[in-house]
């Protein structure tokens, strides 16, 4: 499965980038995310509860960052496993300063899924992923606004 898209944040590039590297911000933004713990500089461990059509199950996994190029881009690698299958994916995110206090997020990546997630969930997973990214970004936007106001 391939995911691709963009989202425009109202905030400066560095602030957006920082937020993406903050496990607490990510943990609250991703729907169903139950925990997100930083293990080292570039590794996080997390747990998430997903509902995809007829499947609802917990997944545990590792998120790692590579090709780190602040505040412009980085690559996210995820590997998760749960009772309803497994997922392994790579996502490249890019932050472009649009000026006017706006930052564009471009993301593209591919995810391989297996188990029930693939055999039963695949028809729904595209739209679930899109909606999760959308609501995640909206949540992050709110966090971003709060952070900018605090400053």
């Amino acid at each position: 499965m391939n995911v691709e898209g963009e989202y425009i944040f109202n905030g400066p590039q560095q602030a957006v980038y920082d937020m993406f590297n903050d496990p607490n911000a990510l943990a609250t933004a991703v729907p169903g995310m139950q925990k997100m713990v930083q293990v080292d500089e570039t590794h996080y461990e997390g747990a998430i509860f997903l509902r995809i059509g007829p499947i609802s199950a917990a997944f545990e996994g590792v998120l790692s960052l590579s090709d780190i190029n602040p505040p412009e881009s980085c690559t996210l690698n995820i590997e998760g496993k749960g009772k309803a299958g497994f997922a392994k994916g790579v996502g490249r995110v890019k932050f472009t300063d649009l000026g006017n206090n706006q930052t564009k997020l471009n993301y593209s990546g591919e995810v391989n899924i297996g188990g029930t997630l693939a055999s039963v969930g695949q028809r729904m997973i595209d739209s679930v992923a899109k909606s999760m990214i959308k609501s995640g970004c909206e949540k992050l936007q709110k966090t971003l606004e709060e952070r900018c106001q605090q400053k």
């Binding site: 009772k83 497994f86 297996g114 188990g115 029930t116 693939a118 055999s119 039963v120 695949q122």
Partner: protein
């Protein structure tokens, strides 16, 4: 040879049980103290097993036991092969990799069982599966058949040098020489896609080991009760009469239930004995999609050499056949394909080559059609291609090459699934097609209906194809017919039934011989406690092979009735007649003895009888054919295609069939209709899709589209040709798979004809609207 009962449209005797909910199925079996099993299956298609931690699962309340391959010790053994390799074919190469009962060291397809949980209920067993921690190192999956064949491919079985499961070549005449003589040579690559058996009822297995009687009883939804019985006895170190396999009513077989070496078959008897408890396992739909067996999935490279008048000089077919991760069922499917490409037309020179490959997909074994569908598909598509090239009408080129009545019997030179050279026993293949085009009124469609429709902007198309169905192969079946003391007759056969109507047609055969009412004949199929010889239900062989054995036994009983009645009626044997339910004196129906009383007399309880006595009115007989009997037919389809949405409506569907003598025209029509709905499903609805990682994307009916009644043509117009087979007394040939064979090629031809503005070239057997859209986009506009 229609008689009082034989050949009559007798209503199905079994339906009163089935339709009123009184039939007993596997899941209806309940035994006190019964435990329930659930399998943990691999999510990975290809991976090295690192660790399977069952500690938590074993602690789960209600769990009685959890087993992995490690826990099975010496009982864990691979195989055996259910069907031997085709070594009757010269230079055949075959790498036997039968099923392991449960994965050890490595998993080779997504859905492969890795652990089994036994618990007080299925709910608990399923929950405990989730407590098992399965640690594996994923490997790249082998999915593409042609790439899998290459030396550079990842290996499914590391101990083999390649993914070659088998290589079998068969040749007759000299194709290359014929090609040199040809005016035209056409070639094409075809894909015959993957489909499920999708029976209404999934597999089921209930086993009870009785420690005190030292006997094991198994209720299984199987097509092969006797092979299953023998396999279980062999594995458990028991003698055959310690194991009784009973097949209750089964909601459809369609092929996959012929397996006797799957995880449930192997593990449950062992566990039942170990725990000394009855165990039930009922397969769920997802398990069935992922891990039972499925079929088709071939890639063909075909070539045909012809004279310019359309006469076939030669045919060449090199094809890849996906056997999945293992090959427990030998080469039945691809051998059937090989047989069916060249069993319909006069093909003097041919070369066919099977390249059977291992992949990281579920195991491939026969599904209704069983390789024949693919053979018919590619040959019929090649005929269409040749017709286009030669600017001939598709019907004309077929009529020119179809075998005629006087050409039978015809030795095909191809060794088939029964390991003997095929002989087409009888028929008139050309006349099937002639009759078919008459019924569909081909001329009128071409000259009036189609031009008029095109003027109105409608896209009507017609497809006309021919097919053969190799049926009724050996080795043998047997039956015992007994007249009871109440005058009713019992028939036992080792053959098992999955809804075909055996209880009715077998009763008709016996009723005709013994002049008893059909409903007074009680048929028992597939209970090894009642009859313990036989091979199983496959290759459309029930009516012909078991039916012929039943007929032979009934004839013997009839003779015994005459001999015994002559004594008691005190008349010569030739003066005895059969009145309904009794033996009487010819011309004196008032002088009679009822069959029940006669049965009692044939089994005296005191006194002296002859030394070679065979008590009762009973006989056992067997039937074994020298080779299979071949049915044949032709099919025409008129479709209406919406060129915007690619919705296809089947306006007319005509099928002419020849299965030799007809036992019951009503059931015959039902068999054909069922087959056709499967064929139409394959043509435009059903498709199993694996992604490049070996994940099955169609493991539920949400994604695997089954055709519904509303997708069927409003009427199936069925015509019959009757050319009795010389191979058996009754002149029978099988029909179980016939209807499933022609729809795909007829559909392709009709859709190409309908979308006449484009040079459409449909090379896949399993289409859907979006694929038609893709094909249309690739096609050149005329």
């Amino acid at each position: 040879m229609t008689g009082k009962y034989f050949g009559q449209p007798v209503l199905r005797l079994e339906d009163k049980h089935l339709l009123t909910g009184r039939a007993k199925f596997c899941d209806d079996i309940v035994i006190p103290g019964m435990l329930h099993a659930a399998f943990l299956r691999s999510d990975y298609a290809h991976a090295i097993i690192k660790n399977i931690d069952v500690t938590e699962a074993r602690k789960h309340p209600g769990v009685v036991a959890v087993y992995t391959a490690e826990d099975m010790g010496d009982y864990w053994k691979i195989g055996p092969l259910q069907v031997p390799p085709p070594f009757a074919i010269k230079d055949a190469q075959f790498n036997a990799r039968p099923l392991p009962p449960i994965a050890k060291d490595k998993v080779r397809f997504s859905g492969e069982p890795i652990a089994i949980v036994i618990a007080e209920s299925r709910y608990i067993a399923e929950d405990a599966c989730e407590d098992i921690i399965f640690d594996a190192e994923p490997l790249p999956a082998v999915i593409d058949l042609e790439k899998a064949w290459e030396d550079t491919s990842v290996l499914v079985h590391d101990d083999l040098p390649s993914n070659m499961a088998a290589l079998v070549k068969q040749e007759a005449g000299d194709y290359e020489a014929a090609k040199k003589q040809a005016d035209v040579v056409v070639s094409k690559r075809f894909v015959a896609d993957h489909v499920a058996g999708a029976a209404m009822e999934n597999r089921g297995f209930v086993v009870n080991w009785d420690e005190r009687t030292q006997e094991m009883t198994v209720w299984a939804g199987t097509q092969a009760p006797l092979p299953l019985r023998s396999a279980i006895a062999g594995r458990m170190g028991l003698v055959e009469n310690q194991v009784r396999v009973i097949t209750p009513y089964i909601g459809g077989g369609f092929g996959p239930k012929v397996m006797t070496s799957q995880a449930d078959d192997v593990l449950l008897p062992w566990i039942s004995m170990k725990l000394n408890r009855p165990i039930k396992w009922i397969e769920d739909r997802r398990e069935n999609f992922l891990a039972t067996t499925s079929e088709r999935d071939q890639v063909h490279h075909c070539e045909m050499a012809l004279k310019k008048d359309g006469t076939i000089l030669g045919f060449k077919d090199v094809f890849y056949h996906n056997t999945g991760a293992y090959d427990p069922y030998g080469m039945t499917v691809p051998l059937n394909t090989q047989t069916h490409t060249v069993s319909n037309y006069r093909v003097p020179n041919f070369y066919t080559e099977i390249r059977m490959v291992f992949t990281n997909e579920m195991v491939v074994t026969p599904v209704r059609g069983a390789g024949r569908s693919e053979g018919v598909f590619v040959m019929e598509r090649m005929m269409d291609l040749a017709a286009k090239e030669l600017k001939m009408d598709p019907v004309e080129i077929r009529l020119k090459n179809l075998l005629k009545k006087e050409e039978f019997p015809l030795n095909t030179g191809v060794i088939g699934q029964d390991f003997v050279v095929g002989v087409l026993d009888s028929g008139d293949y050309k006349n099937n097609l002639e009759k078919c085009i008459q019924m569909v009124d081909y001329e009128k469609f071409r000259k009036e209906i189609q031009p008029k429709a095109r003027k109105e902007g409608k896209h009507l198309g017609i497809g006309v194809v021919a097919f053969t169905e190799g049926t009724a192969v050996g080795p043998y079946e047997g039956a015992r017919v007994t007249v009871g003391n109440n005058g009713k007759v019992s028939v036992s056969t080792g053959y098992s039934t999955q809804g075909q109507g055996h209880f009715t047609v077998f009763a008709q055969i016996v009723a005709e011989q013994l002049n008893v009412k059909v409903e007074d004949v009680r048929v028992i199929t597939g209970d090894t406690g009642h009859f313990h010889w036989g091979a199983g239900t496959f290759a459309s062989r029930g009516a012909t092979i078991a039916g012929s054995a039943i007929h032979a036994a009934a004839v013997l009983v009839r003779e015994k009735i005459f001999a015994t009645a002559a004594k008691f009626l005190e008349v010569p044997e030739d003066q005895v007649d059969l009145c309904e339910g009794s033996a009487c004196v010819k011309g004196h129906p008032e002088k009679f003895i009822s069959l029940g009383d006669l049965a009692g007399k044939a089994n005296p309880m005191r006194g002296a009888v002859e030394a070679d006595v065979k008590p009762g009115l009973e006989a056992t007989a067997y039937y074994a054919p020298p080779h299979g009997a071949t049915g044949s037919g032709a099919c025409a389809m008129i479709v209406d295609v919406d060129p915007e949405t690619f919705k296809v409506k089947i306006e007319r569907f005509v099928l002419v069939h020849d299965c030799g003598t007809v036992i019951n025209p009503l059931l015959l029509e039902g068999q054909i209709q069922g087959g056709v709905s499967m064929g139409i499903g394959n043509a435009f609805y059903e498709k199993m899709v694996y992604d490049e990682n070996g994940q099955l994307m169609t493991a539920s009916f949400m994604d695997y589209l089954m055709p519904q009644a509303t997708d069927m043509p409003r009427k199936m117009e069925i015509g019959h040709n009757v050319h009795p087979s010389p191979l058996n007394t009754l002149g029978l040939k099988g029909v179980g798979e016939a209807g499933a064979l022609p729809p795909s090629p007829a559909f392709c031809q009709a859709v190409e004809d309908a979308l006449y503005e484009y040079e459409l070239d449909l090379t896949e057997s399993n289409l859907n609207p979006s694929m038609l859209y893709e094909f249309r986009n690739k096609a050149i506009k005329r």
